[in-house]
């Protein structure tokens, strides 16, 4: 009997998303850290991938996606709705997966996931760091000496 981690590792070959010019990795180690009473392992993997397709960022720490999924796995709307992705969705090419997502974009499932993922990812300090958003300025006394007026590309 394979362990959960082994099952996920076996599936990890399918977990690098190639979408347009983007390559986004998700390792089995990441998915294995997500615990859910209600979702099967392949459903968790599907949710991780869906999250990455919704908000694709090549440079984003996979832990941020994991944190977003962690907030969703016990949501009953997600548990009931994830079947909508259809059997074998996880094995499809990324652009086909996106097409399937487009087909369910008016469902409660899709919008619950989309809303929660966007909120979670763009409120995460690791995302801020990747995007170049400084956030809390109190620790160094504001941006008055840190570039609030340093723009250098405007025409005279």
């Amino acid at each position: 009997m394979a362990t959960r981690r082994q099952v996920l590792r076996a599936a990890s070959g399918a977990m690098t998303i190639v979408l347009g010019g983007l390559q986004i990795a998700c390792t089995a180690e990441d998915a294995a850290q997500i615990e859910s009473a209600g979702l099967a392992d392949d459903q968790i993997l599907a949710l991780v991938r869906m999250t990455q397709l919704l908000v694709p960022h090549e440079r984003l720490d996979p832990a941020v996606y994991r944190a977003a999924v962690n907030q969703l796995v016990d949501n009953p709307v997600v548990g009931q709705g994830i079947q909508a992705l259809g059997p074998g969705w996880l094995d499809l090419a990324a652009d086909v997966q996106v097409e399937k997502l487009r087909g369910i974009r008016d469902t409660a499932f899709f919008n619950t996931v989309r809303g929660a993922v966007v909120r979670a990812i763009y409120s995460d300090k690791r995302t801020w760091e990747m995007l170049g958003y400084g956030g809390d300025a109190s620790r160094f006394g504001g941006y008055i000496d840190r570039g609030f007026n340093d723009i250098d590309w405007l025409p005279d």
């Binding site: 958003y133 941006y143 590309w153």
Partner: protein
Amino acid sequence: MARTYKHDDDSVVVVIGSGAGGGTLANELAQQGIDVVCLEAGRRMEVSEFRNDESYMASKINWNDPREGSGDTSRNRPTFVCKTVGGTTVHWTALALRMKEHEFNGRSSYSAMPGADLIDWPVDFEEMSHYYGLAEDKLGVTGTHDIPRHEGSNNYQVLNTGAMKLGYPHTPTANLAINSTARDGRAACRQSGFCRSGCIYSAKWSTLYTEIPKAEATGHFELRPQAMATGIEQGADGRITGVVYLDKDGNTVRQKARAVAVAGNAVETARLLQLSTSALSPDGLGNQNGLVGRYYMRHVFGFVTARMPGQVNMYKGIVQAGSLEHEAHHDTRRGFASGYHIETVSLSPAGLTRLVLPHEQWGEGFGAAMDDYENYSAAMMCGEDFPEANNRVTLHESRTDQYGLPIPKIHYKRSDNSHTMAEHGLGLIEDIFGALGASKTYRTPRGSIGSATHNLGTARMATNENDGVCNPHGRVFGVPNLFVSDGSVFSTSMTANPTLTIVALAMRQAEHIGQQMTAKVI
């Protein structure tokens, strides 16, 4: 020196609300030696509790009690205001602008507008100018009273330079109630960019750390936080006798009063007046002509963000450092009446997703758009909105809140004039960014007008009670000792952000109430 008053002390003036209107009025009365009890629904935060953290502060200071919107406004969150000591001055972005004379005389300037019930302000413009001067001094507004203006942030420089590219003149940084140098016991701004989350330096004027402690220092003032007013009581002679409220433990308290001033922001003020029924006022105080809650206005807002060719880092610095008035005049050749300001606004990544990429918020294009966060610049328009009778605040027929009160219902339809103005304004902002080489701009879609932070007009001042709820001093028609002291009294919305006008009116009203008390009229 803060003191306490007995509940049966009927010599006090009760002020409901501690924001720009209530906090200012309370302090101005206390400075005259008038005893004031200030009821505030929210909690009293210390500045040391503030954090540069949008979502944390929103959970602490926002008015999150249920409200129901209809028409064009957000259904679940029609307004964006505060419930905390200091009111909405804790999260305001400190643009301190004066009303213009043509706006002040709205009816005369714009003549008959279809659907709108326009009136002129029943206040002398010269007199108002005097109080604007006092208010600017109180707030320490930059660019007035020899107070230096702020250095311009990157975001301001983009907006101003783009406008100049289109041929508009240079505009310095705006008149801001944010200290550019230490003043009035408060520090200078450090450009941290968290104006909306409570200023950790107290550089931005807020009644929380100006008017309230100054009032306490007089020995004529008591603040009661977490006190939710549920009714104002009217005696058989028409005079107000006191205010009923729920204290922080849910106990019902009855505070007697010599006079009462309501300053709960336009939604709560309209709700409280409608909740306060009596034998003389069966439909609520001041509502004998059914006007309480009507003529609700909220300014013509719209947002544009732009992906610029270089870094802007809009989050650094004062949120609304720039305010362009190039299109704030009245010129019907543009296809609409009155005008609008263009104001810088800065957004965190989460704010950017909510406000500026309101289209399909997912997929490759969305991720790529967000990847360019450092290059975004953003601006909003704030235009004059007109009073319409059907835009109104009413009491919900069935839903109640945690206090057992009917929740406020807010119905708002954006007028054709406002739609046309929004098209013009958003188009111009796009042109400004485009003039500097923006590769892409995003605007709020026509159907999305969101939550209102400027809520006005629900108990408007007029020369007679057929046209409004309050007389030219903000006293409720038909009630000798009841005043309204917030943006509810605005006869028209004007183009400018409302706070400076609210403060100026509160200072004027405090003088009036003092005179009326001396003369034993109240």
